[in-house]
Point group: C2
Chain length 364, copies 2
């Protein structure tokens, strides 16, 4: 097992990562001040619940906790104010009070949703994350929680840090392959923005990671969380440094939107976006090797590196213009300057970006 502390002053919290850490959920909860006198609420989704919920409930009840559960339909749609209201109804009926804890058992969707319940129920109660996807290593650091509005993703939310995160690599064994790859895309991102050695380690361990080897997962998730945590600790409220976490995301978000959120999953979209950023870097005079290496690593994971040709360049460009990273006629981009290093370039010309988008359609 590995342990990591996300350093945020008095809101610091530990992440425990390893095979079967969930077996010790009761001692972990006791250690971190989760109260027994007040009911706990576990939020999960209907794909994860049949696989992992019963065991968590049984362990907690055996340990003397009172538990109530709320299972939502799997998928991004659960991140809505309507579902939040339903969950709060469950919480009220179960008598959750200010000493209660809300637990997210699931991926980023359940984490964001349950996290916003925890942030807003009685103006804030304790929160615990039990991530069950690889992608959720990203959402388990940083305290961002939110639901969607029909007009925009993640627009209604809060910063709310968990008391602890229990990351059991055993729960990941049931993940669908596509979700595995998509999650690894964000892990690779954490190498590309901060740590060339980790990026190289990811490449070397691609097969083990794709095969969900517990030891490889443990290290990969640990280092992925750690990189994000270093960045977030230095910039909790997203002022400046934190923007580097958006490598590949400006193009990626535009692709997701233009593909109407059903052709590409997030990790795939940012994979293409990271190749795009690497291409942009080279056009801006940074070493050619950035592009070659970025593309080689992502390909090794079977992640897409070519932009689907039927997605209109104009639509992609205009989706990016709506992105808040665009200011005064110039685009703001996270641009790699080497493998493991990026800069925020606030002066990228839209024409150059259009060129990159066009060329991304011609990638091998």
């Amino acid at each position: 097992m590995r342990e990591l502390t996300v350093e945020l002053g008095e809101r610091s919290y530990p992440i425990y990562i390893g095979q079967h850490v969930l077996n010790d959920i009761v001692p972990f909860f006791e250690k971190h001040g989760i109260r027994k006198g007040s009911p706990l609420l576990i939020v999960s989704d209907d794909r994860i619940a049949p696989l992992h919920l019963t065991r968590v409930v049984e362990l907690l009840e055996a340990g003397g906790f009172t538990v109530v559960t709320h299972v939502v339909e799997a998928g991004e749609k659960a991140k809505s104010l309507g579902i939040l209201e339903q969950i709060v109804g469950t919480a009220l009926n179960a008598g959750l009070d200010r000493n209660s804890t809300v637990i997210a058992l699931g991926g980023g969707v359940v984490g964001d949703l349950a996290g916003f319940v925890a942030a807003s129920y009685m103006r804030g109660v304790r929160f615990v994350q039990i991530p069950t996807t690889i992608l959720a290593h990203d959402s388990s650091v940083g305290g961002k929680v939110a639901v969607n509005h029909p007009l925009a993703k993640n627009i209604i939310g809060a910063f709310h840090q968990p008391e602890l995160v229990l990351y059991d690599t055993a729960t990941l064994q049931t993940l669908p392959e596509r979700e595995v790859k998509a999650g690894l895309s964000e892990m690779i991102k954490h190498g590309l923005i901060w740590d060339a050695e980790f990026a190289a380690w990811c490449e070397e361990n691609a097969e083990r990671l794709l095969a969900l080897d517990p030891e490889a997962l443990e290290y990969g998730l640990y280092r992925g969380c750690e990189v994000k945590s270093i960045v977030v600790s230095r910039d909790e409220r997203e002022n400046d440094l934190r923007a580097i976490l958006n490598l590949g995301h400006t193009i990626g978000h535009a692709l997701e939107a233009v593909a109407k959120y059903n052709e590409l999953v997030h990790g795939e979209a940012i994979s293409i976006g990271m190749v795009g950023s690497a291409k942009l870097a080279v056009k801006l005079g940074h070493p050619e090797n950035i592009y070659v290496t970025t593309k080689r690593i992502l390909s090794k994971f079977g992640l897409p590196t070519r932009l689907p040709a039927h997605l209109e360049t104009d639509a992609i460009m205009s989706a990016m213009m709506h992105d808040k990273k665009f200011k005064e006629g110039k685009m703001v981009f996270v641009v790699p300057t080497d493998i493991g290093k990026v800069e925020i370039n606030k002066n990228v010309s839209a024409d150059l970006v259009r060129e990159v988008v066009e060329q991304l359609k011609q990638e091998a």
Copy 2:
């Protein structure tokens, strides 16, 4: 004009109170860092908007601000997640960004609602309060913002402090009489819990306050805000001291609930509750004068001091039992120990409270 600072470290903010302070809204906004580059959103309700919204919009636009407005139906029902979603829709369509400010122009309802929009939109943007009721002197200090759930009031919310509060006594001139009295009830409460001199001042100035005399209002609101601010500064997240602000509220909330929120307004309910607390105090051995004075002050304002006889004692008792202030077979009550002084008594017997409730029905 009077100025007051609510001391909360880096979240400290000023309250400006006086006749026509709104005339200077532009310089106040400029002084307190409200940005011109990003649109402002003013939330108001359909009784206040026809009276006061146009002028505020015109002043701001003349000062170079871009303004969008969202008017909700007057009344407690507006404090819902559904309305919050509609307001966020307005914000998105108007292009509100992280440098935008949400402004509440209205009473406690609009303040709580717009405040929670500000707290959650993009995980938090700036917030300004322009209170238009006397009761809102209470909600403009403390940073509590929230919406209701069908099963519980104020259960979904946040702590979100405003950048500044502009309290123009001129806007209060249009308040319906019943709302005037109800708001003064909370003002008197701030005297009763903390400052005997202020309680006496309220009594002496009852006619002026009821007549909405600008000078009397200015001082009363100032001192009311100041008392609350002293309490909140010492206990921002509601741990202990802040509970004294609930004088009269345990009985008051129960009365509101049993009367189905349509017979008594909040200020009336807590007026009866404060008389009840005073009665309880005497039964617990505190000076008789607490009861006599409390009742005399409230009567002078035409506030109710007798509990409507048709409200069932059993229903009132059981509504109080649901209140979280009730623990382990004993009730927790804010009990006056003198005029201007209260204590939190965690050991009040339910039988004694029942006696008080019964006697409150027989008051003169």
